[in-house]
Symmetry: C2
Subunit: 166 residues, 2 copies
């Protein structure tokens, strides 16, 4: 527990904070519309498919690891994974190493949906975010925010947090 700085944020700090939140919020809204129309996916569902299909070599992940990465509660992931499974885009099977764990795998149909959705998705991201940033800005933004994400993720994990705090 660090002592808190009593000074209010200055205009530049507030500007960075609100700009970040507004841009992400507007972008997410735009992107969600595209995903819904192109593939009947929510953004969270897209994140899950993208994590499995683009972010791992095997196309598989444990439920808890997915929850820590994408969703903030275990039951939330169970719900979303259930929807994806019902749509045939992922499968769930008990892990062979640890019988408590469940391994989620993207299916061929899941990869197909990802392929279908990706071009339009890319268009939206390019038009809304990347175009006004330009090449150099894109690089700078990634350089700034990637360490921030790492810093945030280094803090106590979301899925287990509640449980451990009892």
């Amino acid at each position: 527990m660090t002592a808190s700085d009593p000074r209010p944020l200055d205009d530049e700090q507030l500007g960075a904070y609100f700009a970040l939140m507004d841009v992400a919020s507007l972008l997410r809204h735009a992107v969600e519309q595209q995903l819904r129309e192109a593939g009947d996916l929510s953004y969270v569902q897209f994140q899950l498919l993208a994590t499995l299909g683009l972010g791992t070599p095997t196309g598989t992940a444990r439920m808890t690891d997915l929850a820590d990465r994408v969703v903030y509660s275990r039951s939330g992931l169970t719900y979303q994974a259930g929807l994806l499974e019902a749509a045939g885009l992922v499968t769930r099977a008990p892990s062979e190493e640890d019988e408590r764990s469940v391994v989620v795998s993207i299916t061929d149909a899941g990869r197909e949906v990802l392929r279908t959705v990706l071009p339009g998705h890319t268009d939206v991201v390019r038009q809304q975010l990347l175009e006004p940033l330009s090449r150099r800005g894109t690089s700078a933004l990634a350089g700034l925010l990637t360490p921030v994400r790492d810093h945030m993720r280094a803090q106590p994990p979301r899925s287990a947090g509640r449980r451990r705090r009892r």
Copy 2:
């Protein structure tokens, strides 16, 4: 309507996009927890109060202007404004210039809640976002994202969009 670029995003572009979305998502989650505990506010409600209390000289705004800035549908804003009004944090009154419009005003109680919530809010933003960014990074981030927000907002407004597209 611009022709779409058929090339997929490269790693740097994907990195910037996902880092932005992840950071905003994690930050929003952290901030929402603080707002709920400190002042029983959702993030949207905080945005509304902050827009009125910090973003305008008069502490007032029209419903439609608030909707365009904060929420994405008129009915969504009616709902949130209703909650804030029931809590005594804002008032709503018909505009004198245009009888169709409703002017929302932050109350003293609303400003008080804002004051109560702000120090803890600031702590979270500082610890999660600003500290790892450092001074220079904060400035750079604001410089990158403010034009992006302007670019996004220059596009057809959210509240009227659906209606006009009929």
